[in-house]
Symmetry: C2
Subunit: 210 residues, 2 copies
Amino acid sequence: MLCSLMDGRARTSTELSVIAEVSPSTASVHLTRLKEQELVKVLAQGKHRYYSLDDDRVAATLESLMVLAGTRSKPFVPNTPTHLRWARTCYDHMAGEVAVALHDRILKNKWVSQKKRHDGAYELTEVGTRALAAHGIEMDTTNFTRRRIACACLDWSERRPHLGGALGAALLRSALQHKWFLKDLDSRVLRVTKRGEREFLGRLGLQVGA
Amino acid sequence: MLCSLMDGRARTSTELSVIAEVSPSTASVHLTRLKEQELVKVLAQGKHRYYSLDDDRVAATLESLMVLAGTRSKPFVPNTPTHLRWARTCYDHMAGEVAVALHDRILKNKWVSQKKRHDGAYELTEVGTRALAAHGIEMDTTNFTRRRIACACLDWSERRPHLGGALGAALLRSALQHKWFLKDLDSRVLRVTKRGEREFLGRLGLQVGA
DNA sequence: AGGTCACTTCGTCTACCATCAAACAATGGA
DNA sequence: TCCATTGTTTGATGGTAGACGAAGTGACCT
């Protein structure tokens, strides 16, 4: 289980039970124990509970253990339809490969910063505020009090976080306004435009194979 | 057991059984298993069998595991009489803190190099031959064919290797000839002279608290 | 030779831990 | 509101890993 989580992605307990070739109940017992020892952390989202490695130190330790054991695990293969995998909407924000890459970029650029441990909430930084304005992305300031500014929302196909909250919504809204992305009719799929490639993907340095 | 070996020293199976609070037989079985998995290596010397970590990678893995577990083990306390601990003879070569420091220094300076893995034998390098001459240490070339030039000999008090073989013997012989060390009467203890501090410890950069 | 010490091998036993099915809880959609 | 889906909790069970004592091996000393 831990080995399969080493790719940094999150998995549900049932998935992990299949990987470990044990019953769901066994997996559940085992996972609660791993949680107690703070080797994994859980993120409840809808009726799914996503398990992932708790810490970089856990990953590092596993890494060296795998070297000793000489084991390599198979890569994670998403079973999501390909046309949904690259870019789609998730409620009012973006999801898919692009959204995950965007999330990572924004975090790396320190436009947002983590508030606490084990809580998906982010806060907007000084740098972030300026950068968003520069890129022509406008936050809806009316309901700032009601809603979290930004948070990590686990991506179904990628099993890694993308950006949710008010900021996530603002990004999607701006992306559609500027015609960087087009919504497919009668589907959640998003398609990037020529203009989007230049003004969005290009400027943000997102090299995502479409 | 593995944790206690993390200081790089070697220990006997009985010592490890005491540390792990199990019977000697249990420890023995466990250690053979660790050996099979190449986590530890054994060095038979006299009627003792010294166990130590097999590899730097094993130590590194344990290190990160200990960080996760938040455990720290007690340091190794030699039960050797203090007057024997610092410097003494071991058959025809030197042993004790000084000898171990000397071994490490010689290896670091690349005067000798390891031949194979898991074999204590060393071979003399070009650099080493010149350096020995420069320091006024003469090898006895008569019995080169019979004896190993140099080898790691496990130090009883330090539980780390010092230098044995023809080179080890040559070092002790020269040290006594040049009056760098004096042999205590009727004992294996060696005492360093003023001259020895200058011309031996000093030149070799050995800072060993006497 | 014989005795002691250090350690391993063998045979046996037991406690414990993973495992599973069935019951329970929670969420989401119809 | 009900049902399907997802996941957790519980209690019983069986297999196995790890423990030990006794016997065996080899090295060293006198």
